[in-house]
């Protein structure tokens, strides 16, 4: 489904090139649950943005569902983000002035889904994340865990093939974090491809396999059973902050 071949991304900061990703080659099959780990600045988020078509690679090839993404026009990338990818962010990125339903409907508004269908699908998505009773509440009235579940409902609204989550539990306590992870697991079980960037070994432990990045390159691939060892090797085994 996702095939990366020697994918690189270089930024210019203050005239100096920064190699955020260096020749990353990786394949992710449909329905897989993959975690991306690595220290800060290792290029995890950049990889997620490239996969989600929010960013374009400097070199290399990215094939998504058989199509070379680098050759696509901007409008096609917009369409891919709209229809095939769902994003979940650490900071939730909910629109404060819209209520739960409004936030979930937002992607469908831009995708020109008819109003009635939009409403129906938003309710279904809220139901799926267990927030049907919070549809009329604004993000400020929700707990952190509820906010992230609302963001997941929004990501699901357009029925994407791939959910891209950037530190989805980074701002949550353990209990609500676990609820979010349970939800992601369940969605993965229903066939959704899941790509999760995380610092947290507990999050990675739920993935089928983990890809470890350092300085923009993949340095280790670990199946679930190898994860603990791999994290120790790369000094990532310690439970993060808090």
């Amino acid at each position: 489904m996702i095939e990366l071949d020697r994918l690189s991304r270089t930024y210019e900061i203050g005239g100096e090139p920064v190699h955020a990703l260096v020749e990353v080659t990786e394949s992710i099959a449909a329905g897989e649950h993959v975690a991306i780990m690595g220290p800060s600045g290792s290029g995890k988020s950049t990889l997620l943005h490239l996969v989600g078509c929010l960013d374009r690679p400097t070199s290399g090839s990215y094939r998504f569902e058989g199509r070379e993404v680098g050759a696509l026009a901007e409008a096609e990338l917009d369409r891919l983000r709209q229809r095939r990818f769902g994003f979940v962010f650490q900071a939730f990125h909910l629109v404060a002035r819209l209520d739960g339903l409004g936030n979930v409907e937002l992607p469908m508004v831009f995708a020109q889904v008819p109003r009635a269908e939009r409403r129906e699908r938003a309710h279904a998505a809220l139901e799926a994340v267990g927030l049907a009773h919070r549809a009329g509440h604004r993000p400020s009235e929700l707990s952190g865990g509820e906010r992230q579940r609302l963001a997941i409902a929004r990501a699901l609204a357009m029925r994407p093939g791939v959910l891209l989550a950037d530190e989805p539990t980074g701002n949550l306590d353990t209990k609500s974090g676990n609820a979010v992870l349970d939800l992601l697991d369940r969605l993965n079980g229903e066939g959704l491809t899941l790509l999760v960037v995380t610092h947290d070994p507990r999050v990675a432990r739920r993935a089928d396999r983990t890809v470890i990045l350092a300085d923009g390159a993949i340095v280790r691939r670990a199946r679930r059973e190898e994860l603990a060892q791999a994290l120790t090797e790369w000094g990532l085994g310690v439970e993060p902050h808090e």
């Binding site: 929010l54 901007e74 917009d78 709209q82 994003f87 002035r97 831009f110």
Partner: protein
């Protein structure tokens, strides 16, 4: 994205900053209200003038001594124009039997005195036809009699205010007033009339035209007004009158003006004035536009992360542009609507204070106000909207 969705999204965003939005909306309102109010005033002035002429009634041709247009004559030829005389009037009467009336008159300002009361007023030397020409009616007594043109007679008809100021509540009829050192017997008092074609008909004294010419030592009339009548052919009368006068004077030394020409030129002047005033008012709209520009620039920088999110969920640059442009147009459009309402209310108040002025915004001004208000939003919203659309989604998501 449908227009309704765009409007709903933009409207919510504006409602999120009520005060800020209201203030920039107010700017547009003031500009639009100014356009409406000022054009209504200009249009009112124009209609007032046209109505004044309409009051006079049917079409007329005015004959003025002297030529105001440049002719091709050699210098030294022509020179001082011939007088416009009572003889000319008689010749016109003979040549134009079809017209309703011909009214020659002279004008001067002089002192009118009765006993120890003196007033400086406009003295009009007129004929009996003048009452009909100006639709004058009498409060008391009678108007100047229709006599042979050259016969004067020391008679006077007083304007309403002049009569009250000289005689108080007393009856002026039969009294002898002094006009420019000449004794005249008051035979009538005009009914109150007020301002008419720039003359206050309440503050005048009317004497026979021949008396007036002698009184002020004039050899030439001020005007001969020919009332063509409602059905008359103005241009034909004008041409014939010119022919008669050129033949009598041996050269073209008179100017003939038709009512239509006067109304047209006054109307054109006032239209230009209205337009100029509207343009000045429109400048305030540019200021309001800068207000919108400012509000939107702040909104774009505040909502950078939101813009990033919109791009992440699949909104195109064009859709982001549309969102912010809609906010701008919504602000200015609502401001325009409020301004239209305020302007209309202002016009009502104005008409309430000054009922004589038929002030109403012309249709073009209302249309222009609507178009302008939307254009202000679209123009000044363009830059911030472009900025929002150009944001890099990855950087925007992190609020940069």
């Amino acid at each position: 994205m449908s227009a309704a969705d765009l409007a709903a999204y933009a409207g919510r965003a504006l409602a999120g900053h009520r005060l800020r939005s209201l203030l920039s909306l107010l700017g547009v309102s003031v500009g639009i209200a100014a356009v409406i109010l000022l054009t209504a005033l200009g249009e009112g002035a124009r209609r007032y003038v046209v109505d004044q002429f309409a009051q006079i009634g049917s079409s007329f041709v005015a004959v003025l001594p002297g030529k105001t247009d440049t002719t091709g004559a050699m210098p030294g030829v022509g020179g001082v124009p011939n007088d416009l005389t009572l003889e000319d009037t008689r010749a016109l009467e003979r040549a134009l039997p079809q017209v309703d009336l011909i009214a020659p008159f002279v004008v001067a300002t002089d002192e009118v005195a009765w006993r120890d009361r003196r007033r400086q007023v406009m003295v009009l030397g007129v004929t009996a036809e003048f009452a009909e020409l100006r639709r004058l009616s009498l409060a008391r007594g009678r108007f100047l009699p229709a006599t042979e043109l050259g016969r004067g007679g020391s008679l006077a008809v007083l304007g309403d205010r002049l009569a009250r100021e000289l005689f108080g509540n007393g009856d002026p009829i039969g009294a002898a007033v002094r006009i420019g050192g000449r004794r005249c017997r008051v035979i009538g008092v005009l009914a109150p009339r007020g301002q008419q074609l720039g003359m206050n008909m309440d503050d005048v004294v009317l004497v026979p035209v021949a008396t007036g010419m002698r009184m002020f030592n004039r050899s030439s009339l001020f005007r001969i007004v020919i009332d063509v009548g409602p059905e008359g052919d103005v241009e034909a009368v004008k041409a014939r009158a010119l022919e008669v006068l050129v033949e009598r004077h041996g050269e073209e030394d008179v100017t003939l003006i038709t009512e239509a020409a006067v109304v047209d030129s006054l109307s054109a002047i006032l239209d230009a004035l209205t337009l100029a005033v509207a343009a000045i008012a429109a400048i305030s709209l540019a200021v309001a536009g800068i207000g919108i520009l400012n509000v939107l620039l702040v909104a774009v920088s505040e909502r950078t992360a939101e813009i990033g999110l919109l791009r992440a969920v699949g909104a195109s640059r064009r859709q982001v542009l549309a969102c912010f442009l809609t906010e701008a147009v919504l602000l200015s459009g609502l401001g325009g609507a409020v301004g239209l309402a305020a302007g209309a209310a202002g016009v009502r108040i104005l008409v309430g204070i000054w009922p004589a002025l038929p002030a109403a915004p012309p249709a073009w001004a209302i249309a222009a106000a609507v178009v302008l208000s939307l254009a202000v939003g679209a123009t000044f919203g363009w830059l911030p909207a472009r900025r929002a659309a150009a944001l890099d989604p990855v950087r925007a998501l992190s609020g940069r």
